[in-house]
């Protein structure tokens, strides 16, 4: 049986008692019977809740991993955004081209200045 099947079964068991709780409690003839009935109802509830919780518990590691992945993903996006903001990468290429052009332009200008 899967965790889900067990949880659903436990819930059905609890609900079968819960739905008839008023009638069952009213049918108790002694304090001990009433007390035992309430204990059984609580225990059935606890069983149902704990089995339901197992469905979440087995995924805890996945949740942590996913959170980590998302945090890293956000950091990557922020880094990409920073790269676009800091367009140095693109501009460096341009600057290199312009610098070459500038250097090509400088000698005659320098000579012209001497002249």
């Amino acid at each position: 049986m899967t965790d889900t099947e067990i949880a659903e079964l436990m819930e059905t068991q609890y609900l079968s008692i819960f739905e008839n709780r008023d009638e069952l409690a009213a049918a108790c003839q002694t304090f001990a019977q009433l007390n035992q009935f309430i204990k059984n109802l609580n225990q059935a509830n606890l069983n149902a809740l704990q089995s339901r919780q197992r469905i979440f518990a087995v995924n805890e590691e996945r949740v942590r991993e996913l959170f980590g992945e998302l945090t890293v993903a956000q950091q990557h996006i922020e880094a990409s955004l920073a790269n676009l903001h800091n367009i140095a990468g693109v501009l460096n290429s341009i600057s290199s081209g312009v610098q070459i052009a500038l250097q090509l332009l400088k000698p005659p200008l320098a000579v012209a200045a001497i002249v």
């Binding site: 889900t4 659903e8 819930e11 819960f18 709780r21 008023d22 009213a26 108790c28 003839q29 304090f31 001990a32 009433l34 007390n35 009935f37 309430i38 204990k39 109802l41 609580n42 509830n45 606890l46 809740l49 704990q50 339901r52 919780q53 979440f56 518990a57 995924n59 996945r62 949740v63 991993e65 996913l66 959170f67 992945e69 998302l70 993903a73 956000q74 990557h76 996006i77 922020e78 990409s80 955004l81 790269n83 676009l84 903001h85 367009i87 693109v90 501009l91 341009i94 081209g97 312009v98 070459i100 052009a101 500038l102 090509l104 332009l105 005659p108 200008l109 000579v111 012209a112 002249v115």
Partner: protein, 365 residues
């Protein structure tokens, strides 16, 4: 001196001519890559869809966490009520020691139930935080998508051009043209840089969108695997709302006529004053039937919300895959799904806050 001036200028022109040709070649290469269609609009759509889906998921998880709190409180009340069930008149009264022992055992059980609810509440809040983190990722993705790099680069290019012109002492214009188009190094350079910027920005969208696909798939697997538990939580809340209302009506503890007022108002029928509890067994069962009918949609709404959210995650993954394949990204389907989820979440919120609890409040007056 003329010789000195002449030779370098000829070399300069020769080299600049080569550079100009290189720029044209680069421009042609960039144009031929086919990568120049900006994906900015599609990335913006994905960011919007992702933000909405993530926030709706978080709201849903928080609604389930609230359901756990409600259930715990209502069940504690129920146990209190049951403990006070009157015993037959001829039953032997319990000794003080028996009562003390019974109450102690009951307290321990109720505490264990409370601890279990608290643990589950923590699990649900952790998932809500996970969904909010998805929202943060898409918020960053939206800023990436909305950033206009081309404009920034154009500004920088203008600055560089001014610098070059300052150094040269005259405008940077070689005056060359191809065909009827006045193509100059300046506008070619501008176009190339803009083209490269679009390519770079597209790469950023594709890289980040791709990275998110596997995370979203895992998130959907988690959501689908846990959906039966979500449904159990929602059903339990409904059962408790319904159970407490029925218990109070059957105990003749509350005035339950308000539950029927909406129907009576249609015919301008009024209850006699002052308000009294129903004592007639048939009336009580009628009210119980109405409570049962009203409670049913609450669990169904929650289940439908889970299904619709799962479908939204599917749609979101498809949008990412469409972007990867450079297919058109359409928000039509996911927008419809989001509208459904939003309507269900609002109904769930309304149902849990405004249907049975206010009915109980009214009954309690």
């Amino acid at each position: 001196m003329h010789f000195i001036l002449y030779k370098p200028r000829r070399q300069v022109h020769k080299k600049m001519g080569r550079a100009f040709l290189a720029l044209i070649a680069l421009f042609c290469i960039a144009a031929q890559t086919g990568c120049s269609r900006s994906l900015q609009a599609d990335a913006t759509k994905i960011a919007k869809a992702g933000t909405v889906t993530a926030n709706q998921m978080a709201d849903y998880y928080e609604s389930l966490a609230q359901a756990d709190i409600d259930s715990w409180e209502l069940e504690s009340f129920q146990i209190g009520l049951l403990g006070a069930t009157p015993l037959p008149a001829d039953a032997t009264p319990p000794t003080p020691a028996e009562v003390a022992l019974a109450l102690n055992e009951r307290r321990q059980q109720v505490k264990a139930i409370g601890d279990t609810y608290k643990k589950e509440y923590d699990y649900l809040i952790a998932r809500a935080r996970l969904a909010r983190q998805v929202g943060k990722v898409y918020s960053s993705f939206a800023r990436l998508a909305n950033y206009d790099t081309t404009e920034e680069v154009s500004k920088s290019l203008d600055t560089l051009k001014s610098q070059v012109e300052d150094l040269r002492g005259k405008p940077l214009n070689l005056g060359q043209s191809i065909g009827s188009l006045p193509i100059t190094p300046e506008n070619i350079l501008n176009d190339i840089v803009k083209e490269l910027t679009v390519v770079q920005q597209n790469r950023a969208y594709l890289r980040e969108a791709k990275r998110l696909i596997s995370t979203l798939e895992k998130l959907k697997q988690l959501f689908d695997a846990e959906t039966p538990a979500y449904n159990l939580i929602a059903q339990r809340r409904t059962t408790n709302y319904r159970g407490i209302a029925i218990s109070l009506v059957r105990r003749k503890s509350v005035v339950s006529r308000e539950i029927l007022s909406r129907f009576l108002d249609t015919f301008q029928l009024k209850w006699p004053e002052p308000p009294e509890t129903f004592t007639d067994a048939q009336m009580i069962e009628g009210v119980v039937g109405l409570i049962n009918a009203r409670a049913t949609p609450l669990a169904t709404i929650s289940e439908n919300t889970a299904d619709a959210l799962s479908a939204s995650l599917d749609d979101l993954i498809s949008l990412h895959k469409n972007l990867q394949a450079r297919r058109a990204v359409s928000l039509t389907e996911i927008a419809q799904q989001s509208e459904t989820v939003q309507a269900l979440l609002e109904a769930l919120n309304k149902a849990s806050k405004n249907t049975l609890i206010p009915v109980l409040n009214k009954l309690d007056r």
